[in-house]
Symmetry: C2
Subunit: 339 residues, 2 copies
């Protein structure tokens, strides 16, 4: 199907949006709205128009399947990041769980503050404190063992506010968006400041994103043969921080290409959005703005987690669409327990 | 089609091989041998049997498509690496090309020796010398500019012995193997000690391997905005060396999974072969042994380029198949000029 009329210069954005919606109305060829949790409006229109444009063979914005790459931040973009990053909750739980074997932690920071439940004190110790916590919880085992630890934790842990598994606190509209893009030939990558190996064990089940499409921060790995068995040991050093200006670097290292669509929610996604949307041809950059106090948490400029300030200021000038979670999303989380 | 009979415990390896060949004989369903440049024998049988086993739905060795990952070393496995690595030839040519703008190089090592054509002297300066040459030829430009430089060079440069482009000195049997694996649902990754960004610009055209399926050594990248344009600048530091024990690390960092088939030709591929073939389930490890003095170059234990010693000693015990280039390959290179 040719859709060149979509991008005709004589078509106003709103007319294009209306035409775009026509495509997803019930019809013999496309029976259901692929984005049912997105309210009809500018955000949904931006998505549908973009996908129609880059998939229209013969159209001026057509992109072959190999180039249809979309990148998604994880924390705050695909799942909830409040009141603390999920991976940080994992760290705190692991420290508590491992503490019986480490009596010295009762007298040593930052472990002492973790065990006392004084998170403010933990945070006050900055990067050095975090590095010690990471070394104690993320290193010293092989990659298979770490995957098992993550999965075991994720199965039993519950979010303090919603009392349901963290993996159920993924955003329903973003799940639909991921599936919609993939149905249109996109590969959907996660590009997170969190650890790649923390996300890979569950990203396929939760998001339909296989391990090789997860980009994230990395710990040092060391190849060893233990009792004749080759393993990749996780070492205490940080190999790569996939945040801020690290995101374009991490994407290029893994893909060797520049994606055409990027989705984020915080200033840590600024450079990823900037790099992706500055490329030639049709591009899409979107920011999830956490405006929904009732269904989730309302936060942006002053939040220590997921701070959104500069990216919000520059969104209009950069052509990034700001998704108003409260107004644009008909649902936030999938039903729990699953129905 | 079910192929469980393939792996029946009562079937000798040779009987299985014969059955495997039956699959690729002319028939209504599979009209042509997908590996015409491979002589019928143990190497070809090992490949065909392995593919039949892991793609046989319901069979004990069946692997779903997502897990069908095969990794290939590049230099000496997919293309010729003698008398010097192609990327090293690129470095030498670039130094000569850039030298008019660097009069100081006439008096400074290792540039002086490069310009004098004294390669032995260059090599004698070891890693520090190589690092200086890499910084002068691989850094100081953005990623797009570097891709252009590589492609321009590859188009004009000619191999000193064969007088044809390096990109035409790929191994015809390996091209067939790559295509055969992909036709059977595999993703085929290049895992090279060479630079990922040196291979990505041409790997798709030469091998059918897209940029995101190229793993290699990496230079430091830095995100910058220059005159309003975001770029990834190539910096002089080495970020990652994808060789020896670095290969399993590089693969895991990018894929988060362990492949089921590995192909190499030197001791630099030892750990990759070891790690891949030690995994559970059916595995395939193969070594290209350069035995063909007439059609290419015969070398192994004593070669400074592509040294094959320990991996050759351990191949039998590890279950790795050694491909005898002279005996197993009916053709080495594709015809040139292309016919």
């Amino acid at each position: 199907m040719r859709r060149r009329w979509f991008r005709g210069p004589d078509l106003s954005p709103w007319a294009a949006a209306i035409l775009a919606f026509a495509l997803i109305l019930p019809s013999p060829g496309f029976a259901e709205d692929p984005l049912p949790s997105w309210r009809d409006g500018a955000s949904k229109a931006a998505i549908v128009e973009f996908v129609a444009a880059v998939t229209a063979e013969g159209g001026q914005d057509f992109v072959p399947a190999q180039g249809r790459l979309a990148v998604f931040d994880n924390d705050g973009t695909l799942w909830s990041e409040q009141p603390i990053y999920v991976q940080f909750a994992f760290v705190l739980d692991r420290i508590r769980e491992l503490s019986p074997a480490h009596p010295e932690w009762k007298e040593t920071e930052p472990f002492k503050s973790v065990l006392a439940g004084n998170i403010k004190n933990v945070m006050a110790q900055g990067e050095k404190g975090i590095a010690k916590l990471l070394a104690a919880t993320h290193a010293g085992m092989d990659t298979d063992a770490f995957s098992d630890i993550v999965l075991t934790w994720l199965t039993s842990a519950r979010h303090p506010k919603y009392a349901r598994p963290y993996s159920s606190l993924v955003y329903q509209p973003m799940l639909e968006l991921l599936a919609y893009l993939r149905a249109n030939g996109f590969r959907t990558y996660i590009v997170s400041g969190g650890g790649a190996d923390f996300m890979r064990p569950w990203a396929e089940k939760s998001y339909g994103v296989p391990p090789d499409q997860v980009i994230g921060s990395m710990i040092d790995l060391k190849y060893e043969v233990q009792d004749g068995k080759p393993v990749l040991m996780r070492e205490p050093g940080i190999d790569f921080v996939d945040d801020g200006p690290g995101k374009p670097v991490g994407i290029y290292r893994q893909l060797g290409e520049r994606p055409i669509a990027a989705f984020g929610n915080s200033d840590g996604d600024y450079q990823m959005l900037e790099w992706v949307t500055a490329g030639e041809g049709r591009r899409l950059g979107m920011i999830v703005h956490h405006t929904d106090e009732l269904r989730e948490t309302a936060y942006d400029r002053d939040s220590p987690v997921g701070k959104l300030d500069k990216a919000l200021d520059d969104a209009a000038a950069k052509g990034w669409h700001v998704i108003d979670m409260k107004a644009d999303w008909l649902a936030v989380f999938p039903a729990w327990p699953p129905q």
